[in-house]
Symmetry: C2
Amino acid sequence: MCLSKFHFKSIPSLLFRIMVILLTLPLAMNAQEVGQTERLVSPELEADNSVVFRIKAPKAENVTLSGNWMPMVPNGNQGMIRQTVELAKDDMGVWTTTVGPLAPELYGYTFLVDGVTTLDPSNLKVARDGIFRTESLLYVPGEASDLYWAKTGPKGSVHQIWYDSPNLDLTRRMFVYTPPGYHESTEEYPVLYLLHGGGGDEEAWPTLGAAPTIMDNLINSGEAEPMIVVMTNGNPSQASAITVTPKLPNVEQSGNNMASMLFEKSLVNDVIPYIEANFKVKANKDNRALTGLSMGGLQTMNTSFTNPDLFNYIGVMSMGFADLSRFGIEVDHSKREQQILDLKEANPKLYWIACGKDDFLYESVVTMREALDKQDFEYTYRESTGGHTWTNWRIYLSEFAPMLFK
Amino acid sequence: MCLSKFHFKSIPSLLFRIMVILLTLPLAMNAQEVGQTERLVSPELEADNSVVFRIKAPKAENVTLSGNWMPMVPNGNQGMIRQTVELAKDDMGVWTTTVGPLAPELYGYTFLVDGVTTLDPSNLKVARDGIFRTESLLYVPGEASDLYWAKTGPKGSVHQIWYDSPNLDLTRRMFVYTPPGYHESTEEYPVLYLLHGGGGDEEAWPTLGAAPTIMDNLINSGEAEPMIVVMTNGNPSQASAITVTPKLPNVEQSGNNMASMLFEKSLVNDVIPYIEANFKVKANKDNRALTGLSMGGLQTMNTSFTNPDLFNYIGVMSMGFADLSRFGIEVDHSKREQQILDLKEANPKLYWIACGKDDFLYESVVTMREALDKQDFEYTYRESTGGHTWTNWRIYLSEFAPMLFK
């Protein structure tokens, strides 16, 4: 960490000289418009995990910081909003605040400069959460976040694949993680199908979910078996995340069609056959796992209830037998009892349910467990603190993956 | 395009209802903090390729737009800066300007809100140009930009691979493009090694360079042969782009070591053997091509001059026999005459040199051509308009790839 007087970090001399020379040249040079020769350090992590945030805005009248470690607070009659903290301005026009110490975690934050949401210009690490929310990322190290930190040593690959989906009449995008050593090996691997939630897409688990890094760390430490992880787009009307093609975003295309069962059909009939034909895969029930969060939890339930012999490991995160009619979604629960009996008969090795005490879908998980208990259906229940958050979903993946294929 | 009175786009009703309900729930729900229920449309493309830019900033006193279609202008004695245009504020606090009509191209732009650089909050499409410059992207359609637009139809895959580089003592990241049909095919493919410039990294060609989309379009139209394209990191001290691991950026690690020949050694001894061992590759000179821009052009020269029998197709973009001592870089030109003779003897099928009339390295290309002419070394020279820009590098890739492996 830089602790120089003005909290600026010097660009090294060679790069500095290159920039000075290039910036004085009289021609257009896009690649070289690197800008200022000194740069603020933000965020700056202190030894005790306090964090200093800085942004230069000499003309601004008010700058605040909003980070997802802060609580939600009432916003008049407008529901709840994330709390913010004010930054203070020095005579160089740099706004600063120190927060924490913060618990080890991968956080997201933004500045509000005179009311305009702004990423931290000094921080290159950003991720998109949901359709329109892009945030700067802050990693606070410690035992609880250690799996989210990329270490030296062997790393898996992430393949961006476009596959034909006849069931959705689309060529669709997915990310496929292959474990360290996959390319060099002649072995076949088991597969985990990992589903995102509503508002998300196929980019969610590889970025905010940190799935490739978590899997590398779990596999390298021997905690998890080497496996392939498939992350496709769970919104059946989308070919891919709307960031991909160079066109203006069209929110209409991002409808979820949660109750349509269309995604579930394409998962079983398009995605799994593609993976099993094109990767080195152990193509049988013992070596297939399925999990998902929220909408992806509903899709996990739907898929495993209607295809009881497909997966030996099933994980439902932050979702239960929810009445989604308030969202305009009608889920057909009338067949659930028979479906539970069918899945019980198929006897999967693991049916895992995870939910946070503060999750707004908590009651739906109670309802689900009661329905399963009524049929003496065996499952493992993991109740965590917290709510419907990526903090929990990263933890759930970290706990679910080590239980698979053993 | 939305042409409603207030230039807002409605979120579809289901998503709207979900958000209204979730935002009134009293619990923390990161994934659902989607924010406002109406959203500005920006950028908005008009029928004549004029573009309307909008940003809501009620408290700001001054908002300007800077886009890379604008000229560089003198900045007092501070060299040259990109021109900006002012936006005008309406009584709802929305700042607007209309520019153009713009020529078909993939552009980058940012807003300056009271002096603070801000991405367009209504535009999901962003890319990083160089170490610290992230921009919002604007695609203006037309014949000249048609190759940069992802079309329906078969698409190649992009593989993010970590490979051992004993020559650099690092596990390093690269992106490997495989063409449509690669997974299903038993054929072997030729390989293009595609290098970025100084200040860039392995993310440059897949994002700003639009290489996967350009290759899909050229291959699908039959203009280019199906080929693998390898995009690794040309900075020998870097394992990967500094955006990758969740740590604070460290500019010191991004030194280029342009004159060290270290990257060239790792390309020949680490990268190419990895690709030829792990992909379905025709592993011979006839089926290897190498090209790069700026620093990558220097590396292309260095690699092909010192390994004359390795590549049958060589492309040098925006680089010549430059005196780089003003950048603190000492290139050993003393062996160039013998190297030219050695490469002439090896007789590559194509040695292609491309440079813009306004490139600040234009004179170095003149020097290079004179040196090649002196030895009767055959090459193809392509002089374009413009300078040291991604506009030119995308065009050069679009022209170079169709000449390969035929």
